[in-house]
C-alpha cells in the first residue's frame, strides 16, 4: 500500500488491475450507454404505435386479433436463451467451470436462431403487408427492428463462442462476455414489451 503525503489529499493506492477487467473495463460502461440509447429507440417505436392507435377513428387494429400460438412459445424460447447465456457467463468467473461458457453460448445461439425462424413463420402467417395499413407498417417495422437486434445479438454470441473456444477468456479477463451477454439480455427484455404491445393490449382494449 502506498499512501500519499499527509498534507495532500488522502488517496489510498492499492495494487489494481491493468487492462480490460470485467465490469471495471470502459467497454462495460460503453455498452450501458448503448443500451440506454437503444432502449429510447424502442420507447419511441412503441410510442408511435400507441399514438397512432389512440388517435385513430376505430379501424386501427386488424379484424383478426393477433394469436399467441407461435409468439407465446417463442417468448419462452427467448427467455431460456438469456438464462443459458447467463449460466455460461457465471461459469467463466470460476476457473474450474470455464467449460460452461462455450456451452451456455452455444445453447443461447441455437435458441436465438429458433426464435428468428419462428418469427419468420409468424410474418408469413400475416394476412397484411407493410403497405396494407398503418397497423401493418407499425407491426413489421417494430418486429423487424427487434429481429435485426436479435440477429446482431446472435452474431455477437457467435463471436464470443469462437473466442471462448480459442481460450481468450478466464476468470480475470472476460469483459467481452459481460458486454455481449448484457446486450443479449437487453434485446430479450425489449421483446417482452413488444410482445405485450402487439399480443396482449388488443385484448385489453
Amino acid at each position: 500500500m502506498a499512501d500519499l503525503a499527509a498534507e495532500e489529499e488522502d488517496i489510498l493506492v492499492r495494487p489494481m488491475p491493468v487492462g480490460s477487467a470485467g465490469h471495471k473495463s470502459s467497454g462495460w460502461y460503453g455498452v450501458l450507454t448503448l443500451i440506454v440509447t437503444e432502449a429510447s429507440l424502442f420507447v419511441y417505436l412503441l410510442f408511435s404505435y400507441y399514438y397512432t392507435w389512440v388517435w385513430s377513428d376505430g379501424g386501427f387494429l386488424p379484424h383478426e386479433r393477433p394469436k399467441i400460438t407461435l409468439s407465446g412459445p417463442d417468448t419462452i424460447i427467448l427467455i431460456l436463451s438469456s438464462v443459458a447465456v447467463w449460466w455460461g457467463e457465471r461459469g467463466i468467473k470460476h476457473s474450474r467451470r470455464r467449460w460452461q461458457l462455450p456451452v451456455g453460448l452455444a445453447i443461447g445461439i441455437v435458441l436465438g436462431v429458433i426464435f428468428l425462424v419462428v418469427q419468420v413463420y409468424e410474418w408469413r402467417d400475416k394476412t397484411f403487408r407493410p403497405d396494407t395499413s398503418t397497423y401493418g407498417s407499425l407491426y413489421f417495422t417494430i418486429t423487424g427492428f427487434h429481429m435485426a437486434h436479435v440477429a446482431f445479438g446472435v452474431l455477437v454470441l457467435l463471436a464470443l463462442f469462437v473466442w471462448s473456444l480459442a481460450g481468450l477468456f478466464d476468470s480475470k479477463r472476460y469483459a467481452p462476455v459481460s458486454i455481449g451477454s448484457i446486450y443479449w439480455h437487453f434485446v430479450d427484455v425489449v421483446w417482452l414489451f413488444i410482445f405485450f404491445t402487439f399480443y396482449i393490449t388488443p385484448y385489453l382494449a
Binding site: I11, P15, M16, Y29, T37, T52, S137, T141, R173, P176
Partner: protein, 650 residues
C-alpha cells in the same frame, strides 16, 4: 506475460525521479506524421481541432446561404432566386447551422478540453472518438452532395409531413436529408457515449463530482440528453423514408397515418436539441468568465443543478412548437406552463454570471467582451422565448419573423458568442500562441453591431406580419425598410466573422507565445505546456479542490492538490480510471494505438447509405456485410490491450 502485467501497484513519483519520462511518453503517444497519421490518429486534441475547423467551414457555408437569402429579401419583388432555390437555401441553412455547425463546434471544444481538464491522457474510447469525427464529416458531405445532383433538401430543417412525402416532393431531395440525418445520428450518439463514459471513469484521482469544471457538466448533461433524444429523430426520418420508398403509411392521413406523429417525434428530439447546442456553450462561459473576472464562479452548485434541470425540463416542452396545430387546450396549457418554468433554471446561470462580474475584478479582454455580449443576447433571446411560450401570443407570432429573431438570438447569442469567446480564451492552449487582442476587439464590435442590426429589427418585421420562409413580398406590405436593414446587418456580421478568421490565420504564425498559463487560470489544463504534449500529463495528478492552481490564494478545502508528483504509468499507452462518484483510483487502462479502422468503417458506412439512397440492394447488402466485418476486426480482443486471458504457462 507475467502476473505483474495484469495487476500492479502504480508508482507515484516526481519528475526529478524520472527525468527521461516525458521523452519516453512522447515516443509512446505521438501520432506519426503524414497522411496515415492524419487518418489514423486517435489523439483527442487532434480530433478536437479537426472538429472545430470542419464546423467553422460548415458555418461559412451556412453563412453564405444566409447572405444569398438576405440579398433576395433586401427589397420587395427581388428576382435573384426562384421560389424553389429559396426553399433549398433556407432548408440547407437551417440543417447546416443546427446540425453541422452548432453541436460539432462544441464537440470540438469538449473533445479537446475533456481529458485536459479532467487530468487524463485521452478520452475513454479514443478510436470511437476518431470514428465520430469521420462519420460527422461523411454525413455532412453526404447531405451536401445533394447540391451536385441538384436535389437539395427543400422542406425546411423541420421537414413536416405530409409536405415531405413522395406525392408532394417526388425528387430525391428529402431522401438525402432523411438518410443523412440517420447517418449523422451515429456520430452524435457515439460521441455522446464517449463523453459520458470519459466523465464517469477518467477523472483524475480526487476529482469527485463536486470538483468537476462546469463545461464538463454542460457537455455531460447534453450527452445524456443526446442518448435519449437522437433515437427519436433517427426513427422519425427512417419512418419518413419508408413512407417515401416502400409505401408504408406512418404519416399519410389518407390511409390512417398520423401526420402529427412526425411533429411529435421531431420535436421530442429537436426541442431538447436546442438545449444540447447551448448548454455546453454556457458551460464554457461559466468556466472562462470567472477567470477573466479573477474570482471563482458565484453559485457553482446552483449553476450545475440549473444545467441538469434545464435538460430534464427540456424533454417536457416540445409541444410548444405545436400550439398552432389544433391540440386540445389542456395539452397546450400544460406545455405552456412547462415552458415558463424552464426559464427559472436558465435564469440561475444568468444571475450567477452577473454576480461573478459584479463581485469580481473583470479584465476587459476580447474573451470578456464576447462573454458579456453573450449574457445580453441570452437575456433578449430568453425574453422573446417567454413571450412565445404564452399560447395566445404564440398563435399570433408563430411562423413569423419574430420567431426567426428569437431563434437567432438564442443560437447566435449563446452558441456563436460563447464559442468565439471560448476560442479567444482556449486558442493559446490549442496552438501555443495568443490571438490578437486588438484585432479581436475590432472583430467583436463588428460582429456585435452586425448581429443586432440584422436581427433586432426582425422582431418588428414579425410583428408587422411577415411570415417566415417566403421568397419575396409585395412593396405594399411595407416590409422593405426593415428587411433592407437586416440584410445590411447580416453582411456586417459576416465581415466580423471574416476578421476573426484573419486573426486566427495571422496569429497561428505571428501570435505572441502563450506559455502554459497566460490567463493565470486555476484548472488542470493550464498546468501543462501549450500546446500540450501528446500524452497530456507526464504524471497523472491528484486534485484536492475545484481550483487546483489557485489553492494557495483561495485556501479552499483541507488538502493540497498533487501536481508535481503523480502516477507514472509508462508500461505502454496507459491512463488511470477512477470510481464514478468519488474518483478513487480503480484500474489502469490500456489505451489503443492509432488505428485506420475508424476511417475505413466510415467509408464502408458511407457506401451503405449511398446504396440506400440509390435503392441498390446489392450495394446495401455488401455495405452491411462489410460493416459487420469492420466491427468484428475493430472489437477483436487484443492481447496488447490486456483484453484477453493470461496464457496458461505465462
Amino acid at each position: 506475460m507475467s502476473v505483474a502485467d495484469y495487476e500492479r501497484l502504480p508508482e507515484i513519483k516526481t519528475l526529478a525521479d524520472h527525468p527521461e519520462l516525458p521523452e519516453r511518453l512522447r515516443e509512446i503517444w505521438e501520432t506519426k506524421p503524414g497522411l496515415y497519421g492524419f487518418i489514423s490518429s486517435v489523439d483527442h486534441k487532434e480530433i478536437g481541432i479537426k472538429y472545430i475547423v470542419t464546423a467553422f467551414i460548415f458555418l461559412v457555408l451556412g453563412g453564405i446561404e444566409a447572405l444569398v437569402m438576405r440579398i433576395q429579401l433586401a427589397q420587395p419583388g427581388e428576382r435573384l432566386l426562384t421560389p424553389e432555390q429559396f426553399d433549398e437555401l433556407f432548408s440547407m441553412h437551417g440543417i447546416t447551422m443546427i446540425f453541422l455547425y452548432a453541436l460539432p463546434i462544441l464537440s470540438g471544444f469538449s473533445n479537446f478540453l475533456f481529458p485536459l481538464v479532467l487530468g487524463s491522457r485521452d478520452m475513454a474510447f479514443p478510436r470511437l472518438n476518431a470514428f465520430s469525427y469521420w462519420v460527422y464529416l461523411a454525413a455532412g458531405l453526404f447531405m451536401y452532395a445533394s447540391f451536385l445532383v441538384g436535389a437539395v433538401p427543400n422542406d425546411g430543417w423541420f421537414n413536416y409531413a405530409p409536405y415531405s412525402l413522395k406525392p408532394y416532393n417526388p425528387g430525391p431531395n428529402m431522401d438525402f436529408y432523411a438518410l443523412g440525418m440517420i447517418f449523422l445520428g451515429i456520430s452524435t450518439t457515439v460521441g455522446a457515449a464517449n463523453f459520458v463514459v470519459t466523465v464517469m471513469r477518467l477523472r483524475a484521482p480526487g476529482m469527485s463530482i463536486n470538483r468537476v469544471p462546469i463545461l464538463v457538466w454542460g457537455t455531460t448533461t447534453i450527452s445524456v440528453g443526446i442518448l435519449l433524444a437522437v433515437p427519436a429523430v433517427s426513427l422519425a426520418f427512417f419512418l419518413l423514408w419508408c413512407d417515401r420508398q416502400f409505401g408504408t403509411h406512418f404519416y399519410d392521413a389518407t390511409t390512417g397515418g398520423q401526420p402529427l406523429l412526425w411533429q411529435h417525434l421531431f420535436w421530442i428530439f429537436a426541442h431538447p436539441w436546442v438545449y444540447v447546442i447551448v448548454l455546453p456553450a454556457m458551460g464554457l462561459v461559466s468556466d472562462a468568465l470567472p477567470i477573466v473576472c479573477r474570482r471563482p464562479l458565484v453559485g457553482y452548485t446552483l449553476v450545475v443543478l440549473g444545467t441538469v434541470l434545464t435538460m430534464v425540463l427540456g424533454f417536457g416542452v416540445w409541444v410548444h412548437h405545436m400550439f398552432a396545430t389544433g391540440l386540445p387546450p389542456l395539452a397546450s396549457s400544460f406545455f405552456s406552463g412547462a415552458s415558463f418554468i424552464i426559464t427559472i433554471p436558465s435564469a440561475i446561470a444568468v444571475f450567477a454570471w452577473v454576480a461573478t462580474i459584479w463581485t469580481g475584478r473583470p479584465v476587459f479582454t476580447t474573451a470578456f467582451h464576447y462573454f458579456a455580449g453573450f449574457i445580453v443576447m441570452f437575456v433578449i433571446g430568453g425574453v422573446s422565448g417567454v413571450m412565445t411560450a404564452a399560447v395566445p401570443a404564440d398563435l399570433q407570432l408563430t411562423d413569423t419573423y419574430f420567431v426567426v429573431a428569437h431563434i437567432h438570438y438564442v443560437l447566435i447569442g449563446i452558441n456563436l458568442f460563447g464559442v468565439l469567446g471560448a476560442l479567444y480564451f482556449w486558442f493559446p492552449k490549442m496552438s501555443g500562441r495568443m490571438l490578437s487582442e486588438r484585432l479581436g476587439k475590432w472583430a467583436f464590435w463588428i460582429v456585435f453591431i452586425g448581429f443586432n442590426v440584422a436581427f433586432l429589427p426582425m422582431h418588428l418585421t414579425g410583428l408587422m406580419g411577415m411570415p417566415r420562409r417566403i421568397y419575396t413580398y409585395p412593396r405594399e406590405a411595407g416590409w422593405g425598410l426593415v428587411n433592407m436593414v437586416s440584410s445590411v446587418g447580416a453582411f456586417v456580421l459576416a465581415i466580423g466573422i471574416l476578421v476573426v478568421f484573419i486573426d486566427i490565420l495571422v496569429s497561428l504564425r505571428r501570435g505572441r507565445i502563450a506559455g502554459p498559463n497566460p490567463w493565470d487560470a486555476p484548472t488542470l489544463e493550464w498546468s501543462i505546456p501549450s500546446p500540450p504534449p501528446p500524452y497530456n500529463f507526464a504524471l497523472i495528478p491528484a486534485v484536492a479542490s475545484r481550483h487546483p492552481l489557485w489553492e494557495e490564494r483561495l485556501g479552499e478545502g483541507s488538502g493540497r492538490s498533487m501536481l508535481d508528483r503523480g502516477f507514472v504509468l509508462d508500461h505502454g499507452k496507459e491512463t488511470l480510471a477512477t470510481t464514478v462518484i468519488d474518483a478513487e483510483p480503480d484500474i489502469i487502462l490500456k489505451m489503443p494505438e492509432d488505428s485506420p479502422w475508424p476511417f475505413i468503417t466510415t467509408i464502408v458506412i458511407t457506401g451503405f447509405f449511398t446504396g440506400l439512397l440509390l435503392r441498390s440492394a446489392s450495394v446495401t447488402a455488401v455495405g452491411a456485410v462489410l460493416i459487420l466485418l469492420c466491427i468484428l476486426f475493430w472489437l477483436w480482443p487484443k492481447r496488447r490491450l490486456l483484453q484477453v486471458a493470461r496464457p496458461q504457462h505465462g
